[in-house]
């Protein structure tokens, strides 16, 4: 686990898939996918999201390790449906091995279809 940059934890990090990135431009998002194709300079990698889209994840500081397998990326969606990464989490292979991407993707879609039943964000008074 690595910290990359600072993110405003007080705001929700909306769980999205690749398609939903477009409607979350500029917002903090949280995307689970399979990481691959890390750039040689360690400043980006590709993430195949739960709906089968592939997006580019940019990090500020070069990553010192090899990132692959099931990864959760927390960051900001940019205007090209790519992600500026604040933090990524590699899940250990044991807990990730049976992960059902399709189920996760369906859960994400439901969550966005019925936002009144999956409460995100709080009113600041």
């Amino acid at each position: 686990m690595v910290f990359v940059g600072e993110m405003d934890l007080e705001k929700p990090k909306y769980r999205v898939n690749g398609s939903l990135l477009a409607s979350h431009q500029g917002k903090n998002v949280c995307v689970i996918g399979n990481a691959h194709s890390q750039s040689p300079d360690g400043k980006s990698f590709r993430l195949t999201t739960s709906d089968g889209k592939t997006v580019t994840v940019h990090v500020n500081h070069p990553i010192q390790e090899y990132v692959d397998g099931l990864v959760e990326v927390q960051g900001q969606a940019d205007n090209q449906s790519n992600i500026k990464c604040y933090q990524y989490v590699k899940f250990d292979p044991e807990s990730a091995q049976d992960f059902d991407m399709d189920n996760y993707n369906k859960a994400i879609e439901l969550m966005h279809q019925y936002p009144e039943h999956y409460i995100q964000g709080i009113k600041t008074s």
Binding site: L9, D98, Y104
Partner: protein, 248 residues
């Protein structure tokens, strides 16, 4: 009407209100209009933080929130003399303070069971159980459970008047999955005997001895001590009466 059905009154287990022994007076008049508190609602951190505090009660959708379960990532760990304070983030809003006496490490996803509490105007959870997530499908499962739980609370269940009985669906997989590991057969037996007791004062140790006749009393005592130290059970009216933290 859903309201008159009383979601918490159902005997399903997972969401019933038996474990609420801290308010034995039965509520008086103001409670008549409300549903009984739910024993364990799956929800998001944002939901916990958005609950309205009415006197000492936490209200969500006009229902008193008693215990909740959330799934989120450990953001930070702060140790003090009396407790360990975890900050848990499930991405739905500001991270939540969670107080508990077990060691976890940062950036680990965990399932938390706890009571909603408030201190100096800030909501936190007083937990009786934190389990690291060993299968990431549990995250998906929880997301769906949150939607389902809220839907059932606010709208009732599709195709019929009866609110869902949470326990019945869950017992087979998830519920059983994290009560059993780590318990010896004897401990599991003692735990079951304690869980089966519906008396709000819990089960007395002599009663337990009788129920489990054939097992040496010292072995039962040892099992009770173990279950108590692991947070599966707690003592109630005195040191010889116990109740299970899992509502059965």
């Amino acid at each position: 009407m859903f309201n008159s059905e009383g979601y918490g009154d159902q005997g399903g287990g997972y969401m019933n209100s038996q474990s609420n022994f801290s308010s034995p007076q039965g509520g008086g008049t103001e409670r008549k209009t409300r549903l009984k508190p739910i024993s364990c609602l799956p929800c998001t951190v944002a939901q916990v933080l958005s609950t309205q505090q009415v006197d000492d009660k936490f209200m969500v959708d006009n229902i008193e929130l008693n215990q909740v379960t959330i799934v989120g990532m450990v953001r930070s760990v702060k140790e003090s003399a009396t407790k360990i304070e975890y900050v848990i983030d499930d991405m739905t809003g500001p991270p939540l303070d969670v107080h508990r006496v077990v060691a976890l490490r940062e950036n680990l996803y965990v399932r938390v069971h706890g009571h909603v509490r408030s201190f100096q105007g800030k909501h936190h959870l007083m937990t009786f159980k934190i389990v690291p997530i060993t299968n990431m499908n549990e995250l998906t499962y929880h997301m769906l459970e949150v939607i389902h739980g809220h839907l059932a609370l606010t709208k009732g269940v599709a195709g019929g008047g009866k609110p869902v009985q949470y326990g019945s669906d869950m017992d087979t997989g998830y519920q059983g999955a994290h009560t059993d590991p780590g318990l010896s057969p004897l401990q599991a037996q003692v735990f079951q005997a304690i869980s089966a007791c519906t008396d709000e004062r819990g089960i007395g140790i002599t009663n337990l001895f009788e129920k489990l006749r054939g097992i040496p009393q010292t072995a039962i005592r040892e099992a009770v001590d173990f279950l108590s130290s692991e947070g599966h059970i707690y003592s109630t009216i005195d040191d010889d009466h116990f109740k299970s933290t899992e509502s059965m």
